[in-house]
Symmetry: C2
C-alpha cells in the first residue's frame, strides 16, 4: 500500500521525504495559493491573534476612539496600545484622524468586522 518516492528535484533536493499518495500531494500543489497570498492571509490572522489587538478591533467596531481611551479600556499602557495600533495601521486595518493633539482611530472598512462576526458565530455554536 505504501511506497517510497524521492521528492521531485525542483521541490527540495535535500529532502528524501516519504509520500504515500503522490496524486494527493500533486493535487494539493496544483490547487495551492501563491506563497505570497498565504503569507498575506497569515498576516491578517496574526493581526487578530493577540488579545490586545483583537480587543482594539472589537472596540473600534462601536465607533472611533483615541489612544488613551483605548488604553484605559484595555487596562494596558498607552505605549503598548500605540505599538499595536502601528501594526494595525501597517496592515491597513485601522486609520486615524487628528483633532488637535488627539488621534482618533477607526476601522478602515467593515471587512474585519465581518470576519470577527463569522468566527464569533462559529465559537458560540
Amino acid at each position: 500500500m505504501c511506497f517510497r518516492v524521492v521528492c521531485m528535484a525542483d521541490y527540495e533536493d535535500r529532502c528524501q521525504c516519504r509520500i504515500i499518495h503522490e496524486e494527493r500531494v500533486d493535487g494539493a500543489r496544483s490547487k495551492a495559493l501563491a506563497p505570497d497570498e498565504v503569507g498575506r492571509l497569515a498576516n491578517f490572522f496574526k493581526a487578530l491573534a493577540d488579545t490586545t489587538r483583537l480587543s482594539i478591533i472589537l472596540a473600534l467596531q462601536h465607533g472611533e476612539m483615541c489612544v488613551c481611551d483605548l488604553a484605559a479600556f484595555l487596562a494596558v499602557s498607552e505605549s503598548a496600545v500605540s505599538h499595536q495600533l502601528r501594526l494595525l495601521r501597517q496592515l491597513q486595518l485601522v486609520t486615524n484622524r487628528r483633532q488637535g493633539p488627539v488621534l482618533y482611530y477607526r476601522l478602515v472598512d467593515d471587512h474585519v468586522s465581518q470576519v470577527t462576526d463569522l468566527v464569533l458565530e462559529h465559537i458560540r455554536e
Copy 2:
C-alpha cells in the same frame, strides 16, 4: 476639552490612567465581549496565524490528507506537521480517521473555509 479622572476602583485600582472620553470608554466596556470569548476568538485566529498551520488548513479544503503527504506538500518535517496538527485538533478545527497505520486528516466543518474565503476576498480586492 481634556480632563483627568481616576479609573473606577472596580477596574484596576493600580492604574491612574488618563481618560479623555469617559463615555466612550464606558460604552466600549458595556458592549465588550466576555474576556473568555475574546480569548477563544484570539485562539481561533492564532490557529491560522502561522503559515504552516494555515497551509495545512488550506490543503485540507481540497480533501483529506495523511501526515506524510502534508509534510511533503509543505516541505517541512513530519514531526513539525504532527505538532501543528495536534494544535489544530485541540482547537477542534481538524479531525482524523485511521486506516491501518495511516491517519487521514480532514476539516471538522466548513466554518474555517468560510473564514479563509472571506479574508482572501479582502486580501485580493
